[in-house]
Every structure is written in structure tokens, then in C-alpha cells.
């Protein structure tokens, strides 16, 4: 609607609430999170304690980090379905290389496939203009193939999880998960990058209207290439952290995080069509999903019912969120 005339008459209460929610999109999310925790405490009094919180945060961190990749790519109207494969590859390479190498060199080698996949994604999406969904699914498939071939090397030489990663992934210091040491800088970087750097601006701009960005002198492929490389590197680092948390490298290590990472970004209010959203919401989204998983496990639902409920809740939350935020 371009033809609108705003009136200065006071808005009705429902609308004022909606305005508030729209300006403060984090509020409904945090309210939902608190409600979920409340339900959990109601169902199993005493479960919500310091240890539980630490544990929840610990499991939410890898999810939130992969969801950072989704948030950034979704802002440009894309999506990165290769993150779970990239994370798994990094973890696998790390475990295999750690047998012979020191953790730093092993880590560097482990991030190499992430870099390559990121570059491939960036070139495919940015230069060849392949739909991101297809491009990242494709590179993910190639990555899985490579991993399967590589797996034999690992079977021959064994695998080892470096102590440092275990400490980072599972350790607590004074009841606070050590993983926050990694997560807080990463999260701060992503949030600040999106809000206060030229690159962040360009992600929103390219996602909102690529043609307008082009006419303003923005070179699309550069933005996209940098974006997907960054996304893959964050996914790779997440893989290393996740290895420390799970401690057994497997070919499907990070797979269970793939779809929830998309869900976390969506619940967090990032538009899958681009141009709108942010990372703070995504972090809360990841926490919500983690608590939800605990809740469902607690209810001892069969695997199938749990999946159904999980899907339904993702859908409902997203729909409700749209209603709250959308003024139209």
C-alpha cells in the first residue's frame, strides 16, 4: 500500500502491543522461552537448576552457531544447507589428524574443506547464480562423498579427540560452560558485523533488492562469496566444538542440527526471503528449540510423536511470530 495516510489518533491496545512487539521482536521470543522453561519446571519440579541451565546452554551453542550461518545467508535471500556436512567434515578431519598432528595444525587442516566448500558455494551462488538451496545441497552431497572416502583412512589410523576440544565442548568452569569462551566472541562478531559494518549493511541490501544494490555500486558476487566462505568457516568451527561435545566422530555427527538450525533462524524472526532479521533473535530461537527438545524427551514420547510435535511447534511459532510482527 503506497497510498496511506497516517492518522494521529491513538492506536487501539492490540495494535499498540503489536507495534511494541514489532519494535522489540526479542520480547515475544524471550516470553516463549520463559514459558517453556516454566512448563518444564511444572512437569518435573526441581529440574531447572544451575546444572540443567549449563547443560542446555552447552547444547544450544552449536545449534546457535550453525543458525548464525543460516541467519546470515537468509538475510541475502539464501540458505546454507551444507553447514551440517561442513561441520561434520571439520570434526572428522580434526579427529583423524589429531592422531599425528598437534591440535592447531590439525584444526587448520580440518577447516580446509570448510573453506573449499564455502568458496564453491560462493562461486556457485554469486557468480553462476545457482539457487542457494540447490548449490549448498549439491556441495553437501559432494562433501558427504568425500567424507565417506576419507573415512577409510580414519578406520586405518584411528581417531582422537584433542583434550582441548573436550574441555571446550563439555567442560564447566564455576558452573559456566567453557563453550561460551568461543561462543560469546563469535556471537558478538556476528551481531556487530550485521549492525555496524558495511558488509553487514550489504547483506541486508542484497537480500532486500539486489538490483537496487547493484545500481548503488554493490558487486553482488563479492558479497555472496565472502558470505558463504564466512558461513562455512563458522560451520567448520562449530564442527570442532561439537566434536568436543559429542566426543565420537561419525559420518552423521552434525546432521541432527541441520534442520533445527534453519528453524532457529526462522523462529528468531529472520525472513527467509531476505532483508529482514538479526542474530539476537536466532540465539533465543536456538535456546527455545533446545529447551523444547528436552521437554519432549521428558514427556517420553515415542520418536515419531516427538518429531510431529517438533514440526508442529516450529510451524505454530513461526506463524504466530509473523502475526505479531507483521503490521499489515
Amino acid at each position: 500500500m503506497t497510498d496511506t495516510a497516517t492518522l494521529d489518533r491513538p492506536a487501539p491496545l492490540g495494535r499498540r502491543i503489536r507495534r511494541f512487539m514489532s519494535d522489540q521482536p526479542l520480547v515475544p521470543l524471550i516470553v516463549l522461552l520463559v514459558i517453556l522453561v516454566g512448563v518444564l519446571e511444572f512437569l518435573r519440579p526441581g529440574i531447572v537448576n544451575e546444572r540443567w541451565i549449563a547443560n542446555t546452554v552447552k547444547f544450544a551453542i552449536p545449534l546457535a552457531m550453525l543458525a548464525a550461518c543460516q541467519t546470515m545467508t537468509m538475510l541475502t535471500g539464501g540458505i546454507d544447507l551444507s553447514v551440517s556436512t561442513v561441520a561434520t567434515m571439520a570434526a572428522f578431519f580434526m579427529a583423524a589428524q589429531s592422531v599425528a598432528l598437534d591440535p592447531v595444525s590439525a584444526g587448520a587442516i580440518a577447516l580446509l574443506p570448510a573453506l573449499l566448500i564455502g568458496i564453491a558455494n560462493g562461486i556457485g551462488v554469486g557468480v553462476f547464480r545457482v539457487h542457494p538451496l540447490i548449490m549448498t545441497l549439491g556441495t553437501s552431497l559432494v562433501g558427504i562423498g568425500c567424507l565417506q572416502v576419507y573415512q577409510r583412512t580414519v578406520i586405518a589410523s584411528g581417531a582422537r579427540v584433542p583434550d582441548g576440544l573436550t574441555w571446550l565442548g563439555t567442560g564447566l568452569t564455576g558452573g559456566v560452560p567453557n563453550a561460551l569462551l568461543l561462543f560469546i566472541p563469535v556471537a558478538a562478531f556476528v551481531i556487530l558485523m550485521l549492525r555496524f559494518t558495511g558488509f553487514g549493511r550489504l547483506l541486508y541490501a542484497v537480500g532486500d533488492n539486489e538490483r537496487a544494490a547493484r545500481l548503488s555500486g554493490v558487486q553482488y558476487w563479492r558479497v555472496i562469496l565472502a558470505l558463504y566462505v564466512l558461513s562455512a568457516l563458522i560451520a567448520g568451527i562449530t564442527g570442532l566444538l561439537y566434536l568436543g561435545l559429542i566426543r565420537t566422530p561419525s559420518l552423521s555427527l552434525a546432521d541432527p542440527l541441520m534442520l533445527p538450525s534453519v528453524a532457529a533462524a526462522v523462529i528468531g524472526g529472520t525472513s527467509i526471503f531476505g532483508g529482514r532479521g538479526g542474530y539476537a533473535g536466532t540465539i533465543v530461537g536456538a535456546l527455545i528449540l533446545t529447551v523444547l527438545t528436552t521437554l519432549l524427551r521428558l514427556l517420553q514420547l515415542p520418536e515419531g510423536a516427538r518429531l510431529i510435535l517438533f514440526g508442529a511447534i516450529v510451524l505454530l511459532v513461526t506463524a504466530a511470530y509473523l502475526r505479531l510482527v507483521d503490521d499489515r
Binding site: D208, R214, G217, G275
Partner: protein, 504 residues
């Protein structure tokens, strides 16, 4: 019962939450008349049209057709009730061919063909995909489709806006003929010339209310403008300041030699001096789109050279042109704006484009530049969180403000005043003159010929992909420009000859 209106809408209102797009609109259309619907941008014209054509439902109001209340719940229902619109944007399905488009809407083919021919498009192939046809043809097809449904009331929204003069004249002829059969047409336009030529009466909207209904008689323009703006406006022309001869010493800002691009731009040469506003005048599709795109770095020319400040340049990307201080303001606002982002981000967008400015934003400097640009263009920032909430005129201002903030030395304006209200237009004219006075240069394509004498220092007339004439502003009145745009020589006697056969 001769006075019973064909369409009688009264008390129509539409609210979006607390925002009233339409408060109390009424519209009575008699049989056999062409009725103009007028109003500044944001007055509620589009909303009223959408309600009348079933695209949205009104919050209140009564709509009678031939004295009966008919349901208008959907476009199909409105069509059954006898109301058929032709929207500003083409409404054919781009990926279907014309025949399938007709089938989809249940349009009879034979009358459609006749109307298309009558409207001046002789060689239409029904198997062409809609997406392969030029905009002007698509609009004509929309009109032909509406005509072949034999509606009681046809709504034409800025029907002639994107049409070349020859097609626009055909359209006006056909519309005039159409109402002779007792049908009516609601005609929405910003062009007084057309309204004077075509319409019998006009309903004027302001801020969502009908503020008056007038008969179209000579000299009524001032009265209508007054009603639209709600206050008396002086009809002063922004006189084109005589260009300072010294300012243009040294190499020209922009020098184009033998430029060709795409299939339409054949061979264009001209110079643009510092401190000059040069008008480009052309009928639709004479290569002006390609000319601007090539100068903006959007497409590569196939032949010819461009020199900036005397140095030859090759543009591979708009970024290259911007690096030379050349900025492009497209005619279509949706091409230039980030609709979901704030006014500030939209204006500051070019600052971040270059690789070296990907780092932390210079927040203070940016805010200063943006505020100055907003101030200078007097952009209404009440709804600045999202550009899509602004009115059309304010959106257009944002597209220009961006380049004021970026301090571009040359601005390529492609029909920036299309479909916006009178007040905003005047502000844009004034701004462009100010820029020129500061030594900046502007290349200004316009489809409204009377603008040339308001804004430009001279008019470059392009026809068939070539420059056919360059008129000094003193003689560049509408008549002279029209003649030139049709490719007729300047000296020949009176104007415009029959438009038929004028297009190549």
C-alpha cells in the same frame, strides 16, 4: 432515470489498523462519461480503485452499480458486476502466451484482436509470451482485454503513463469512442492535458476524502490543483537559469560519441557540460533506456565511446560509473529502493558498496550526510523505519537523496516524476536546478514534455536510436518537442501531424 449513475459509491473507507487509507470517498459516474479521478499521491486513489475492482474489501461504504448493490469480493466478482480495471502495472501472466492469458480470463479472442488492431498494434502474435513483449504493448493488451469484456465501467489507472505519444493518442481516441455507446470510463492520470482533452468531469480526493466534483472546462486546472493540495499554489515556472558560460570551460563532464547498445540504441553523440541540466526527449522505445543503462554501467555498449572529463572510460558495472561520480536514478522506484529497510540505510547504501568500506561504519559522518540529504529534499520521515511505508513521492525523493548524500557529480534521472504528485514534482525541479547551479550536471529523461522548459537547459531529442535534434530551451515547448520526437524537421510549419505511421 437519465441521471441514475452507472456507478455510485459513497462513504467508502478503508483502514489498515489505525492507518486510514481512505476515510470518506464518494464517486458517481454517469453513463457515457469519462470521469477523472484525481488526487495527490497518498490521497487514496489507488485504494479506491482496488476496492472498486475487488482487490480489497472496504471497511465501510456503499457501492451501487446501476442502482443495485453488487458483491465486489474478488476481481472476478467485480468483473461480473461490470467493473473492469486496467492497472498501472501490466496484468498479463508473464510466462503464459497471449492466447493462454485470454483463455485464463475467459476473454473472447476475436474482439480482443480487433481492439488490439484498433489501438495501433497491428502485428501481434497470440503465441508470444507476455514476458517477451515491451511494456507499452503489454499495457495496450491489458486495455484491449478490458475492452473486449464489454464492461459497464472501465477503470484506467495511469493508462497513458508508459505509452509513447502515438499509442497514447490511439488510446484516447478509443476511450472517447467507447463512452459514446453509453458505457463509462474512470480515468486516473496526473496529466492535465489528457484530462482536459478526454474527461467530462473530475472527482478530486484529498487525504482519503472526496473534496469536490468539477466539470472539466478550460482553466479548471488551477481549481483542481487547489483542491488536491488544499491550498492555493502559485503557478510559477522554475525558469531555467541561463547557464554561466564560464562554468562550462574545460572538457565536458560527459562526452558520448557514436554510442550503440542493444537493438534500439543506434548512434548517439552528445556532450553534457558541468552545471547543465540536459533533457532527453524521446517516444517510448527509441533507445533512451539503453542510453541511460549504458551510461550507468548497467549494460555494455556495442559501439562508441564515453568520456568523462575528457578521459575515455569503459564501464563494466554500475560501480565503475559511480566511481566516476555518475549516478543513475531509475524511473521505477522499486528498482532503486530497499523496501524493508529504513530511510537512512537506503540513503547510505552507496557508502558501503566498495570493498574497502566493508569494515565498521563511520556512524557519525553517515548520520550527518544522511540528515543533510533528508533535510534538503524535505523527506517526510514519520514512517522512516521502512521505506515501503512512505508515499510514492517520498520514496522517489529517497532515491535522489541517496546521490545527494553521496555527492555524485552527475545524476542520470530517468523519468523521476512519473506518477507522483504536483508538489513533489516541483520540489524535484527546484532541486535539480540547485544542483546545476552548484556545477553538477544532470541528464534528465522525461515523458512529460512540459517539464523540459521547467528544468532543462536544452533538450536532446532521440528518435530511432539517434539524436535527431538538440533544441535550446527557449524554443523547446511541447509542440516543438513533439514534432522533433516524431523525427520531423524543426522548420516545417505547424504541429503535430497525424501520428499514424510516425513510428519506425
Amino acid at each position: 432515470m437519465t441521471t441514475q449513475p452507472l456507478l455510485d459509491a459513497s462513504g467508502v473507507a478503508k483502514n489498515y489498523g489505525a492507518v486510514a487509507a481512505l476515510r470518506d470517498a464518494s464517486l458517481r459516474v454517469r453513463p457515457g462519461e469519462v470521469h477523472a479521478l484525481m488526487g495527490a499521491n497518498g490521497a487514496g486513489k489507488s485504494t479506491l480503485v482496488k476496492i472498486l475492482t475487488g482487490a480489497i474489501r472496504p471497511s465501510a461504504g456503499r457501492i451501487l452499480i446501476r442502482g443495485e448493490a453488487r458483491p465486489l469480493g474478488s476481481p472476478a466478482a467485480a468483473r461480473r458486476a461490470g467493473l473492469v480495471p486496467v492497472y498501472q502495472e501490466p496484468s498479463l501472466i508473464p510466462d503464459l502466451d497471449i492466447a493462454d492469458n485470454l483463455r485464463l480470463t475467459g476473454t473472447p479472442v476475436a474482439p480482443f484482436r480487433d481492439w488490439v488492431r484498433a489501438l495501433g498494434v497491428p502485428d501481434l502474435d497470440l503465441r508470444d509470451l507476455a514476458r517477451d513483449l515491451p511494456l507499452a504493448v503489454l499495457r495496450v493488451l491489458d486495455l484491449a482485454r478490458a475492452l473486449s469484456l464489454e464492461p459497464d465501467v472501465m477503470l484506467l489507472d495511469e493508462m497513458t503513463a508508459a505509452l509513447p505519444a502515438n499509442l497514447a493518442e490511439r488510446v484516447i481516441e478509443v476511450v472517447r469512442g467507447e463512452v459514446k455507446t453509453g458505457r463509462s470510463v474512470i480515468f486516473i492520470s496526473h496529466r492535465f492535458v489528457e484530462i482536459a482533452a478526454l474527461c467530462d468531469r473530475a472527482t478530486v480526493l484529498r487525504d482519503g476524502e472526496t473534496v469536490g466534483v468539477v466539470d472539466i472546462v478550460p482553466g479548471i486546472e488551477e481549481r483542481i490543483v487547489e483542491m488536491m493540495l488544499g491550498a492555493r499554489v502559485e503557478k510559477t515556472r522554475v525558469a531555467a537559469a541561463a547557464r554561466d558560460a564560464q562554468a562550462s570551460s574545460g572538457p565536458p563532464r560527459l562526452s558520448v560519441r557514436g554510442l550503440a547498445a542493444g537493438s534500439k540504441l543506434e548512434d548517439v553523440s552528445f556532450e553534457l557540460a558541468n552545471g547543465e541540466v540536459a533533457g532527453v526527449v524521446a517516444l517510448e522505445g527509441q533507445g533512451q533506456d539503453e542510453l541511460f543503462a549504458a551510461l550507468a554501467g548497467s549494460i555494455r555498449p556495442s559501439r562508441g565511446t564515453i568520456a568523462v572529463d575528457g578521459e575515455p572510460v569503459v564501464f563494466g558495472h554500475p560501480a565503475d560509473a559511480i566511481a566516476q561520480g555518475i549516478a543513475y536514478v531509475p524511473g521505477d522506484r522499486t528498482e532503486a529502493l530497499l523496501m524493508q529497510r529504513s530511510v537512512r540505510e537506503n540513503i547510505a547504501l552507496p557508502f558501503s558498496a566498495r570493498l574497502r568500506s566493508w569494515g565498521p561504519l563511520a556512524v557519525g559522518r553517515e548520520r550527518g550526510l544522511v540528515s543533510a540529504a533528508i533535510e534538503r529534499l524535505q523527506i517526510d520521515t514519520r514512517a522512516q523505519r521502512e521505506v515501503q511505508r512512505l508515499s510514492g513521492g517520498n520514496q522517489q525523493k529517497v532515491t535522489i537523496a541517496r546521490w545527494i548524500a553521496a555527492d555524485a557529480r552527475t545524476i542520470l534521472c530517468f523519468d523521476p516524476t512519473r506518477g507522483i504528485d504536483v508538489r513533489t514534482k516541483r520540489e524535484i525541479y527546484r532541486l535539480l536546478r540547485e544542483l546545476a547551479a552548484q556545477g553538477k550536471s544532470v541528464l534528465y529523461y522525461t515523458s512529460e514534455l512540459e517539464e523540459v522548459q521547467r528544468v532543462c537547459d536544452r533538450a536532446i531529442v532521440v528518435f530511432g536510436g539517434r539524436v535527431v535534434d538538440v533544441l535550446p530551451v527557449e524554443i523547446a515547448d511541447e509542440a516543438a518537442l513533439t514534432r522533433a520526437a516524431y523525427g520531423l524537421p524543426r522548420e516545417a510549419a505547424s504541429l503535430p501531424a497525424s501520428p499514424s505511421g510516425a513510428t519506425p
